[in-house]
Each structure stands twice: as C-alpha cells, then as structure tokens.
C-alpha cells in the first residue's frame, strides 16, 4: 500500500443535467448536501429526474453529517480516466456511508492517510479537496479507532 499519492484524478463533472449542481456547489463551500423527497423526506441518492417514492415530489437538498464510516475502497494503480497519464502513482477511491444515513454511499477520494492502511469500518470525516475547476468530495481518517 502506497499512501503518498501525488497523482489524484482531476476530472470535472460534465453537468449533462443540472440534477447534481447543488451537490457540487455545496462542496465548493466546504460541506455536503444530499437530495431528499420533498413529500416524505426519504433520501434520493443518486439523484434522478423523477422521485422514486412520490411521483409529484421534487428534490429537496439537505445538509448531511460530515462524518461516517468507510464502506469499501480500492487503491487504484492504473486509472482509466480519459485524461489520466499512462503511469500514475496510486490513489485511493472509496465509498463512504454517512452517519445516520444508512444505505447511502458517497463515492469519494480517501486522503490524508499519513501511513495508515485504510480499513473498512474506519471512521472518516469530510475534507473537501480542491481540483483545478471543482471541489471534490474527500474523506480522511478520524482518530485511531476503527470498527468493523
């Protein structure tokens, strides 16, 4: 496991639709919001043009906790992103489950490991990461403990 990652992908959202703009706008301000059903409050992640539970509802973007647990991750040695160099240093891409929002998983970078090996179940907190034209979600370990 290599924990120094000078290469991190820099691949701006394409914004084919405006559905995800509030997510990125909030990250640029340093926090995270997620969409919920305007009728019943159920989380709607990923966002869609329709609301799964209530046909006449709309997306209501709400603040969410900045802490959670690592659900899974992989150390990526070869990036297939169209703009990635052929040879890169490894980086860590992960899915994080936020506290109090079971079943919703955030695709994210895992950063600031400082020698720690990622462990599924480890506590993490949001640490948004500026890229050239957007701010990416990134999480970093909290404290020393991890739980399964």
């Amino acid at each position: 496991m290599t924990d120094t990652a000078p290469y991190l992908p820099d691949f701006a959202p394409r914004f084919d639709t405006d559905l995800v703009r509030p997510y990125w706008d909030a990250l640029a301000r340093g926090h995270m919001v997620l969409p919920a059903c305007s009728v019943c409050g159920a989380w709607q992640w990923y966002p869609y043009e329709f609301i799964k539970c209530h046909a006449d509802a709309h997306q209501d973007w709400k603040p969410v906790p900045a802490t959670g647990t690592l659900f899974t991750y992989t150390v990526v040695h070869r990036s297939f992103l169209p703009n990635a160099p052929r040879d890169t240093e490894p980086y860590v891409s992960a899915l994080v489950e936020l506290d109090g929002i079971p079943g919703v998983r955030i695709p994210t970078f895992l950063v600031n490991l400082e020698g720690r090996t990622p462990a599924i179940g480890m506590r993490v907190r949001l640490s948004p990461l500026p890229r050239s034209s957007y701010t990416a979600p990134a999480f970093e370990p909290v404290g020393q403990e991890s739980r399964p």
Partner: protein, 383 residues
C-alpha cells in the same frame, strides 16, 4: 422431454478473436453466423429466425449476408451485454413454441478495442460522469476491486485464491486453439503481476477482444436428424435484480450480490439437476472475483465460501469443478456471454481435444452484466 417443444443447439461458430480486428462488427457477425449455420447442417433458408443478443448492426443485413431467405422472426434482446447470449434462448423457446420460427440463429459480437474501450460504456452514463469520475471512481477494475475489498472484509480473501483462478484459466486457454492469452502462468507469476485496482492485478481482468460468435437452435425433434450431437436445452432462465447498472457498483443494497440467485435455481430446477450432476461450468468472468461470487449465488457453496472453494485449483484441468474450460473471458476471448455458450456446447459434444473434460453429461452456463442474469443447463439427448 417433448422433442417438439424442447430445444437443442445444433450449430456453433465464431470468428477469430483479437485486438484491433480488421473486420467491422457487421462482417464479424456474418462470419460467425455463416460458420454456425454450416456447423448445424441446416441450409441457411431453413433458418427462419434471428436473434441479436445485444447491441449489433442491423438484423436484416446480417440475415441477408448469411443467406437466410425465409426470415420470419426477428428479435433484438434488451438484456445488458453478457446476459443476452444466454437469455436469447428464452426468446428462441417462445418463438419456436409459438410457431413463429422453426430454427433460429443467435448472434453476438463486440469490438471492445475501439477507442475508450469497455470503459466508455460507463463514461456515457451522466450520473457516473457527474458523481464518480470526478473522484476517480471509474473503470470496471475499480468496481470489482471495491467488491473484492468488501468481500475480503466480510469473509476473508487471499491473493492466492484469486491467483488460483487466474492460473487455472490460463491452463485451459493454453489447451484451446485461438486463445488470446495462451502462455501458461504460475502462481508466482500471478503474485508478481502489477495491481490495477487492489486486490485485483492485471491477471484478474478479462481481455479486450474484437470478434463474434453465433449458434443455431431448433427443436430436439429436428436436431435428431442433424449431424452434430444435439446440446439439449434442459433448463434456461433469465431475470434481473432490482437495481440499475448506474447504481449497482455503489448503492446496491446487496453490494456483493452479482450472481444469478433465483435465475440459476430456476434453470437447474427445470433441468432436474443438482450441483453434483454438473460436469462442467462456464461462468461470466469479467474478473476472477466474479466467478467466486457467482459460484456462491448458484449454490455451489455458501456465501463467503467461494474463495476457499476455488483456492485449491479445482477449477483447472483435471480438477473436480472445471470452470471456463476454454480459458474464459480472462484468457480466451471477451465476447460477453457468447463464448461461454459456445464452450458449453463444445464440451457436451466432446470435441474439445486437450481441453475436453471426461464424460460430460451436464454442462452449465451462467452469465450476467449489470443487474441482468441468465443461466442455461445443457444435456445430451436422453430420449
């Protein structure tokens, strides 16, 4: 078994497989189709149905070039690529039993070595482009790397267990003419191979291929008058899990569930076979890990026991559970789901030379892509 309503695969054919094939997908499909028809012993005008088992060039062009002058039934199945070549048998059954066709050509091919490769398929998804690619969550090796880490966390998974599958399939490929990767490897070679997305190495990943495969299916009654040993369709089922391809690699409520589940159960129940009856297995192998997860879902072992099951090399030549006996998508060719059907038929016919498994009576094929699954049980004609 009613020979008028039971189907049998009577002809198989394929192109050569390689990167950057000089033929277009239409020409590859036609070549595979013609070979399958020639193998069947039927004349092209006797084949009155065609099923395209995935996104393909137009059916009229392919059927015309194959000499199918009496095309009455035309179908394009909409399963995700990978499931289609097996699921096509469900449509063929419906069509033949309803009298819409008497013999059907099923054809599928890909050119994954085109620019952007197989990854471009996912890059075209707006939500992946807007939520996953900006954090480098991109490419099938990463999806399956994340699945593998989660599997390791829940059940344990040794590099050597994945490696056993990679070594076994390379050994099968070495015994199979036309394999894209035919040089045998050892476990040490595997462990020395570079990571792509941990714990997956390049030797855990399937090939990039251009090529096509095809088969001809008709009633068992008719198959009995044809030259090839009929591969009798004793059980076939298709179905889908309740999530989208967009979400399954991040949001699936059953994250490790990439197997056929009840689809596999249905196919085996129809065929009246249990696991101990199965002589040879072809399983969709985009990655080594996928084989483990599907073997569990098919009931060859309990969830979490798949890695240990394959870890002793029993899926290789001479092993007690032969899997992907042409080398599979890892080493032979990546024509999603189609090469598995062709190999399942050829093993049952006993025409596989150095890679022939002794005395095959029951040949199982299970393939998937995204949420869609299909499972097939082939047997001999037992009267």
């Amino acid at each position: 078994m009613n020979p008028q309503t039971t189907l049998a695969i009577v002809g198989v054919g394929n192109t050569d497989y390689r990167r950057m094939h000089h033929l277009g997908l239409d020409a590859l499909a036609v070549e595979a189709g013609r070979r399958a028809i020639a193998d069947s012993g039927l004349a092209a005008p006797q084949i009155d149905g065609i099923i395209l088992a995935g996104t393909m060039p137009p059916a009229d062009e392919i059927a015309f070039a194959c000499g199918m002058k009496n095309r009455a039934y035309t179908c394009h199945n909409a399963y995700t690529p990978g499931a289609g070549p097996v699921a096509a048998l469900v449509e063929a059954q419906l069509a033949i039993r309803a009298g819409l066709a008497s013999a059907v050509l099923v054809v599928y091919g890909v050119k994954t070595s085109k620019p952007g490769g197989p990854y471009a398929f996912h890059a075209a998804d707006p939500l992946k482009a807007d939520l996953e690619m900006p954090v480098g969550y991109y490419g099938q090796p990463l999806y399956f790397g994340c699945l593998a880490q989660r599997y390791r966390h829940e059940y344990g998974l040794a590099d050597e267990q994945l490696g056993a599958l990679a070594v076994a399939q390379r050994a099968w490929a070495a015994r199979t003419p036309g394999s894209q990767k035919a040089e045998p490897i050892t476990l040490d070679d595997y462990l020395a191979a570079p990571y792509v997305a941990e714990p997956l190495r390049n030797l855990d990943c399937c090939l990039i291929s251009d090529g096509a495969g095809a088969y001809v299916v008709t009633t068992l009654e008719r198959a009995r008058d044809l030259p090839r040993t009929p591969a009798v369709v004793r059980g076939v089922a298709a179905g889908s899990n309740p999530w989208t391809l967009t979400e399954m690699f991040t949001q699936s409520p059953r994250f490790l569930d990439i197997g056929p589940g009840k689809v596999g159960e249905r196919a085996m129940q129809q065929a009246g076979v249990s696991h101990g009856d199965v002589d040879v297995v072809q399983i969709y192998d985009c990655f080594t890990l996928s084989i483990i997860l599907q073997l569990e879902s098919l009931g060859f072992c309990a969830p979490g026991e798949g890695a240990a099951l394959v870890g002793d090399g029993r899926t290789g030549p001479g092993g007690s559970l032969p899997v992907n006996t042409d080398g599979g998508h890892l080493c032979h060719a990546y024509i999603p789901g189609m090469t598995h059907v062709l190999e399942g038929v050829r093993q049952l016919r006993g025409e596989r030379g150095d890679a022939q498994v002794a005395d095959v009576k029951v040949s199982l094929v299970s393939t998937f892509a995204g949420p869609d699954h299909a499972t097939l049980v082939l047997t001999h004609d037992n009267g």
